[in-house]
């Protein structure tokens, strides 16, 4: 069974042949992955021992090795191919929504509807955990919607600002 595992933007083709063996970059290795407790795993990879913590989050795997973190997306290689054939027509084009990454208090709104903004331009300041955090525009465009006012408390995931492609 072939998979594509994507780490930091790099695709790795990994074949899991039968229990205990994987092939990566044409090198076949003997693996022994044991679940220890909760998110804790022990991996022996050709007898090299790794202490690993792994969690599934939003369809991706967050892997901790040696105190460093890697986010891995795994797809069935065949399905990935199919998706490539299907194209990206279903992706939302042209706009970007800025949502509250955490609950907090809107301290200041830096833009108004109709404003043209650059990518990474500050849109508003959200205070959470006693720190002011500037939320920035993920893209260049025009502010179409501002849903909050200073002093307003927002919940995680609330739509704050919408930036769309500038017309013409």
């Amino acid at each position: 069974m072939k998979y594509i595992a994507t780490v930091d933007g790099t695709d790795h083709e990994i074949e899991v042949d039968r229990v205990g063996e994987v092939t990566l970059d044409e090198v076949t290795m003997v693996t022994d992955l044991r679940a220890i407790d909760g998110s804790s795993y022990s991996l022996l990879l050709d007898n090299r021992s790794y202490q690993v913590f792994a969690e599934r989050q939003a369809g991706r795997y967050v892997i901790m090795i040696d105190g460093d973190q890697f986010v891995v997306e795994v797809e069935d290689a065949r399905l990935k191919q199919l998706r490539a054939m299907g194209g990206t027509a279903h992706e939302e084009m042209g706009g970007a929504s800025v949502v509250a990454p955490m609950p907090g208090l809107v301290v200041k709104v830096l833009v108004s509807p109709g404003d043209e903004v650059e990518a990474n331009q500050g849109l508003l300041i959200l205070e959470a955990m006693k720190m002011e955090n500037e939320l920035r525009s993920p893209r260049a465009g025009v502010v179409r919607q501002v849903n909050v006012v200073p002093g307003q408390t927002v919940a995680q995931g609330d739509l704050l600002v919408r930036v769309e492609e500038a017309e013409g």
Partner: protein
């Protein structure tokens, strides 16, 4: 000597103080807000009392309730820890007025050092070197005039400030007014006071602070420095002792200045005098923190002096047991502050329930922590979860030990700054001790070795886990409820026929 101490704090520092009390044979009283019933400090303490709802303003900042609980429980002293009421002179006064002992400096010393403008005047009189700057709260027009004299870049600082709140760097004259507004707003919110002052920015400077201990008999000693230059948004991230640039001569000079600063305000208890040290090793007084510091453990590890126990003994009227000549510095200690934040996503705060904790152990490792499986990390309080401190015979051993300990450390359920620290102690400049207060924010990048070895291991682990739950994975690949699922099904069926 004291008999029973109320700890007016929460989190790791409350636990730290409770431990010191118990080792001294003192009884302890914890206080907690409604969301902290299960907290570690409640469970470690001899007694615990509810003081109010989750917001600190209605619980841990309610001095009246804290004093009432102290009286009701028969405590004879209150230790404020750091943050909350630790540097509020009025609270220290109210504690004394209630006939209780405040485990900290006299209110007059808190007040003298708490007002940054007043403290500058006192330090000038005591002969402690200062960074050029303005000497009083300024109106905006006065600030513009003063800024031209001081020169750019400069810093705007809140008179009542601390921990970087209300502090702003200004590089150009045209940025001054906007930055003044932001600094005043932050200061007003954090301290209820929008008075600011200006100071020349010493470029390439290190932040090095000196720990002092003073008893009620008038003995004042210093316990050497802590190097705190690795900062982000003026919050310390990693601290070490000794500083990589320290020499016995510089330590003696800075120590003497710190002792003079403490004596100038009649200081008693543990305190910290913060200095900027420039590239020529000239040092300038920044401020004095009139409380126990977060990073106090690195000093304890290297000097062998328990600062919290000393604070308690001093509060009980005992003279210092150690003289200046008894203080020696053995080996090297490093502390990493483990915060609930995502170093891969602009350090956004992370909240939630901690689902598992695996703490490093073994030689030379100390953890001051208040987290456990099931602990809730909320937005109500400081994002610091724990402090990981290591001690080694020298700096290289301490750094290698920190790498080893960080590799063992795992906290699940919230994002933490553990990866940031692991990257830091694997960075050439940090290992070389070659960094200043701007290094972390301006130069440091989370980069990995190009060999991609651990990336491949991560890919293999994720793939094996995905393989084990294969049906699950395939079903999740297509967006639920969209037409894509059906199209995929059709194509898949088509492929099967081939």
């Amino acid at each position: 000597m004291l008999k029973k101490v109320l700890i007016a704090n929460r989190g790791e520092i409350a636990v730290r103080i409770i431990r010191a009390c118990h080792e001294l044979g003192l009884e302890t009283v914890a206080v907690y807000s409604e969301v902290d019933r299960n907290a570690l400090h409640v469970r470690h303490a001899g007694e615990a009392y509810l003081i109010g709802p989750a917001p600190a303003a209605e619980s841990y900042l309610r001095g009246d309730r804290l004093i009432e609980v102290a009286l009701r429980s028969g405590a004879d002293a209150i230790h404020p820890g750091y943050g909350f009421l630790a540097e509020r002179a009025e609270f220290a006064e109210a504690v004394a007025a209630a006939g209780l002992t405040f485990v900290g400096p006299p209110p007059s010393a808190i007040r003298a050092m708490g007002d940054k403008v007043q403290s500058r005047i006192r330090m000038i009189a005591a002969g402690v070197p200062l960074v050029p700057g303005t000497a009083k709260g300024l109106r905006d027009d006065e600030a513009v005039a003063a800024a031209a004299e001081i020169g750019f870049p400069l810093l705007i600082k809140a008179s009542a400030g601390g921990g970087g709140k209300g502090m702003r760097r200004v590089d150009r004259p045209q940025e001054l007014l906007a930055s003044l507004e932001a600094a005043r707003r932050e200061s007003q919110k954090a301290f209820g006071d929008d008075t600011v002052y200006l100071e020349r920015l010493v470029e390439g400077a290190r932040h090095i602070e000196i720990q002092v201990l003073a008893d009620t008999q008038g003995n004042v000693i210093h316990l050497g420095e802590r190097e705190c230059s690795l900062q982000r948004r003026h919050q310390k991230v990693l601290e070490e002792c000794p500083s990589p640039v320290m020499t016995p001569q510089l330590r003696a000079a800075m120590g003497a200045a710190a002792v003079a600063a403490a004596k100038a305000v009649g200081y008693v208890s543990a305190g910290t005098v913060e200095f900027l040290v420039d590239k020529q090793f000239r040092f300038y007084f920044l401020e004095m923190n009139t409380r126990l510091q977060v990073e106090h453990p690195v000093t304890e590890m290297v000097t062998g002096v328990d600062l919290v126990k000393n604070m308690l003994r001093i509060a009980g009227g005992r003279p210092l047991r150690v003289r200046q000549e008894d203080i020696t510095w053995t080996g090297h200690a490093v502390e990493c502050r483990i915060n609930a934040e995502d170093p891969f996503n602009n350090y956004l705060p992370s909240t939630g329930r901690i689902t598992s904790v695996v703490e490093p152990t073994g030689p030379g490792v100390r953890i001051d922590s208040a987290i456990f499986e099931g602990a809730e990390v909320s937005l109500y309080y400081d994002p610091m979860l724990a402090k990981l401190i290591v001690h080694g015979k020298d700096r290289p051993e301490a750094m290698m030990r920190m790498r080893r300990a960080l590799a063992e450390y795992h906290i699940a359920g919230v994002k933490t700054s553990i990866p940031l620290h692991q990257h830091l102690v694997n960075t050439t400049q940090v290992l070389a001790g070659n960094y200043d207060t701007h290094y972390l924010e301006e130069q440091f990048r989370m980069e990995r070795p190009a060999d991609g070895a651990r990336e491949r291991v991560a890919a293999i682990v994720a793939t094996l886990l995905a393989h084990r739950s294969r049906g699950d994975v395939i079903n999740r690949l297509a967006p639920v409820g969209s037409q894509v699922e059906w199209k995929l099904y059709g194509r898949r069926a088509g492929l099967r026929r081939l």
